[in-house]
Symmetry: C2
Subunit: 242 residues, 2 copies
């Protein structure tokens, strides 16, 4: 049963859900705040369950697509169905195994910061399911976005979703933003880990960025924001390479 490292909480959850078991996801933030978000129901959702944002994201994609943080492959599968070649990358061995088992044709274990080392140039890169957050922080964003610029063609499209962290009145979140500002960090930078049963993921930084923050962050990169579709706090942005 247990070929996954204890740190692959995300992958163990994906594996168990994929195998028909109960599964859940606990996200723990470094201030002690915990959540049980939609979890596997979201990661395994199909396009008929998506809002307009998800549909816009896959419609914007062109050619050979790099799906960054593909998880069990909901976007990769939808893109394949639309006729795209897709390469998925993820750090979770469990999620990679599930994505392959579900039919994602090319899935590799890669950090987004190393995307430039992948073979071939992609026509699009997608950071969906809030995965613009994988830039981690203002400091790390240029490296990640630069890597994606190197991994893609000159006419490439980048499609990135995030949520506006300031679109909340929850004191637990507002206090966390304030703590971040006191440390000269962007308010929506969260340090989190995934927990699932005995599995405990590694702490990592994830960035929720309002559209204007995304525009600021890409300014010093080769990317430019062309369009934003928004639904409440969530949005998806289309960027092109300048």
């Amino acid at each position: 049963m247990d070929d996954l490292p204890e740190s692959d909480a995300f992958g163990a959850m994906c594996r168990d859900y994929h195998e028909g078991g109960d599964a859940f996801e606990v996200i723990e933030r470094d201030d002690g705040f915990v959540e049980c978000p939609a979890g596997p129901e979201l990661y395994f959702s199909t396009p008929d369950e998506w809002s307009a944002l998800g549909h816009a994201a896959v419609e914007w994609a062109e050619g050979h697509v790099l799906d960054v943080g593909c998880g069990p492959g909901r976007h990769a599968l939808a893109l394949q169905e639309r006729g795209h070649d897709v390469t998925g990358i993820d750090l979770s061995p469990g999620a990679i195994g599930v994505a392959r088992d579900r039919g994602v044709e090319d899935v590799q274990r890669y950090d987004v910061a190393d995307a430039a080392d992948l073979d071939g140039l992609f026509d699009s890169a997608v950071l969906l399911g809030n995965n613009f957050g994988l830039v981690g922080s203002a400091e790390r964003a240029p490296e990640v976005l630069g890597s994606l610029a190197e991994a893609t063609t000159d006419a490439a499209t980048l499609i990135a979703s995030s949520l506006d962290p300031l679109d909340t009145d929850d004191p637990a979140h507002l206090n966390y933003h304030e703590r971040n500002r006191d440390r000269d960090r962007l308010p929506g930078r969260i340090r989190i880990r995934t927990r699932y049963r005995q599995y405990i993921g590694e702490w990592h930084d994830y960035l929720h960025a309002a559209p204007e923050t995304m525009r600021d962050l890409v300014e010093e990169t080769r990317w430019t924001v062309d369009a934003v579709e928004r639904e409440g706090p969530r949005y998806v942005a289309k960027l092109h390479k300048a």
Copy 2:
């Protein structure tokens, strides 16, 4: 919004669910294992959603009932509907507030070990929803069961539910049992705390005891097990005072 102590994770969950919000419960064990059990859906369930065990438990109750660890009151309300006077006790301020708001007529903040200090003698005491676990450990059980003996009439009935911890093939649980045995503890003694959003409950011992373990534990008390109804790992036992 926040009149509850940060340690009242259980009560905050009950309050938010009662007020119509999303709510969930994370149970964290001291080995790092986490679960998201049924949580509020279970604590707020109504008798039409219960299995035969829950019905047996409320049918066995007699006269004025002490509901130990009443939470938001699902058993207390069902007992009131059946014509019983009920006194609920719980340690969670949030749960107590919700139980009162839902119509439980007498709810007090009391530790089960202090039940003997309550006014009046009860005809029955109930430890439902696995709340036999509130005895905590083999060492603490005589004090808790003795307190319930003092709080009740000579002809009193005690109704207690638990689950057989050995009825599992889950390695995460089997390993925990082994760790307990190595420390001369009953295998089903778990040290846990509840987490919900920014709320973190206090660590406490909770005991899952097989029926034969329950029989052993009550041997040195005034209680005797008369009947056990079992469904899979779960069971409810009826005890009388010898």
